[in-house]
């Protein structure tokens, strides 16, 4: 066969494929009086609603399992000893007669199997018939169950709402899940829908994909595994969150917080225990932590304030801002600077690309900066060791009254300026100055390469920089 014929055959088949695709799209997408219809031909056009009810006596302690699709499930506590099942059927047919005829075939299936009541519909049976495949129908359950019932719900394409249960296990997709007032443990798995859970007495586990997660008032431990959605948790026990492509925010945690996040910012506030955050491509912020804080971020800034314990922070391409840290501080920044206020137990800081400023510190401090300067202001009299080195930047130290240390300052190339009353210089040469104050004590080593070193009295600094 000639190449031209092969080309023509491909052209003809391509034309046919394009026509068939256009036809299919036109058949399944449209804008009508009831809104936009996208690839859901069965659920479009006229619909009619019909109701059915059933009451099922159950022994005490019976658990409930509801299986449904294309419709919501609402479950609440009611009278003991019975389960009231209300089913709303919505049938999409052109006429009410046709819809009623189909709706009459939709029935409630409720089977008591030992201590478990299974509730559902005969949807599978109807959909296996040729007519059932063509007809769109929704089944919305409203159940009233005995108080303190353990509940399991498996639903698709419909909202799930469960309240006042003993335990809850919910699997849902393509709509929202709402859970409230559960006395025991709860477990939720959701796809393509938001999850809202509040007032859970036990542990709570949530696995969510493509939806927002909101938790409130969880007494036990909370575990969240989320992708493509924001996570918000308020007033929980200890919490572990694994998240990606969404913002994470936790507040009011009684215990430890552990967050592993990718592609989203993380904020943790009011944590009684330790806070551990590992993130990427988003800023991380910790405010008011009762224990230690450990924050590791790739491509993001770090902010921590009011941390009672120690702090370890590591980041890149972002600055670190710290305020009021009670324990030892360790910071490592690549392509970012550090701005810290009130560090109670010293710091070890390594940074590159920007300045390191510590205003108000106690304890031993060790700072190393590449392509940036260092500015150190102790909280009071300086008696602990200080080691500061800057490449391509200046080093500045303020000295308060009552300080006691031995100074060793080097600036090469650059100059060392010392302006502190009571600081006696014991050796001075080009770029190298040694001295002591208060009779000596800890070692204060200041080193600048391609920058100056300046040691000045705190009052002098205040006067020059009011």
């Amino acid at each position: 066969m000639k190449a031209s014929k092969i080309g023509l055959l491909i052209l003809v088949l391509g034309f046919g494929g394009a026509v068939e695709t256009a036809w299919s799209v036109r058949q399944n997408i449209g804008f009508g009086p009831q809104g936009c219809r996208v690839l859901a031909g069965r659920f479009y056009g006229s619909s009619f609603t019909f109701d059915a009810e059933r009451t099922q006596p159950v022994p005490a302690g019976t658990a409930i399992e509801v299986v449904n699709a294309f419709g919501g499930v609402t479950l609440r506590a009611g009278d003991p000893g019975q389960v009231k099942i209300a089913l709303r059927k919505v049938v999409f047919r052109p006429t009410e007669e046709q819809a009623r005829a189909f709706a009459n075939e939709i029935r409630i299936d409720a089977t008591l199997d030992g201590s478990l009541l299974r509730v559902g519909t005969n949807r599978d049976e109807l959909e296996n018939r040729s007519e059932g495949r063509e007809v769109g129908f929704e089944t919305h359950f409203e159940l009233t169950v005995p108080p303190a019932t353990a509940v399991t719900v498996r639903n698709e394409h419909g909202r799930v709402e469960v309240a006042d249960a003993a335990r809850a296990d919910i699997t849902s997709s393509f709509d929202e899940v709402r859970l409230s007032r559960v006395s025991g443990a709860a477990r939720i798995q959701s796809r393509h829908g938001d999850v809202l859970a509040s007032t859970v007495g036990g542990d709570l586990s949530v696995v969510a994909r493509h939806g927002r997660v909101e938790l409130q008032d969880v007494q036990g431990r909370a575990t969240v595994d989320s992708e493509h959605g924001d996570v918000r948790a308020d007033r929980t026990g200890g919490i572990v969150i694994r998240a990606s492509f969404g913002e994470v925010g936790v507040e009011g945690v009684r215990g430890d917080v552990e967050v592993r996040s990718q592609h989203g910012p993380v904020t943790a506030r009011d944590v009684t225990g330790a806070a551990t955050i590992e993130g990427s491509f988003g800023d991380a912020r910790v405010e008011k932590a009762g224990g230690d804080a450990r924050i590791t971020v790739a491509h993001g800034a770090v902010e921590a304030a009011d941390v009672a314990g120690g702090l370890v922070a590591e980041t890149s391409f972002g600055d670190v801002v710290l305020a009021r840290v009670g324990g030892p501080v360790q910071v490592k920044v690549a392509h970012g600077g550090v701005n810290a206020r009130v560090l109670e137990k010293g710091a070890q800081i390594s940074a590159s690309g920007a300045d390191v400023v510590i205003d108000g510190f106690r304890g031993e401090v060790r700072v190393e900066v590449d392509r940036g300067g260092v500015s150190l202001t102790p909280a009071g009299a300086l008696t602990d060791p200080v080691w500061a080195s800057a490449a391509h930047g200046a080093v500045r130290l303020e000295v308060s009254a009552g300080s006691r240390f031995v100074l060793d300052a080097t600036a090469e190339p650059g100059e060392v300026q010392v302006d502190v009353p009571g600081l006696v210089l014991t050796s001075t040469s080009a770029g190298l100055t040694k001295g002591e104050i208060g009779g000596g004590g800890s070692s204060v080593h200041l080193q600048a390469r391609h920058g100056d070193v300046r040691v000045q009295a705190a009052t002098t600094a205040a006067a020059k920089n009011p």
Binding site: L8, V12, F15, V19, A22, R26
Partner: protein, 67 residues
Amino acid sequence: MAASFSIERIVIGFALLGLGVLWLLANAGRIDLLSALRTWWPLLLVLWGGLELAAALSRREARRGGS
């Protein structure tokens, strides 16, 4: 004339003719173009196949006549 007999040209000719007529009718509001194309496009393959068969038979007859 026999040497200039080309299946591709004939198919393209018929296709252009058919498409033009369909488009014209659609613009006149007489037919639904997409529906008509979707129904009748396989006719191109049928037409082509028929012409290929006719050409093959004509070549065989020519060889017989020559021998």
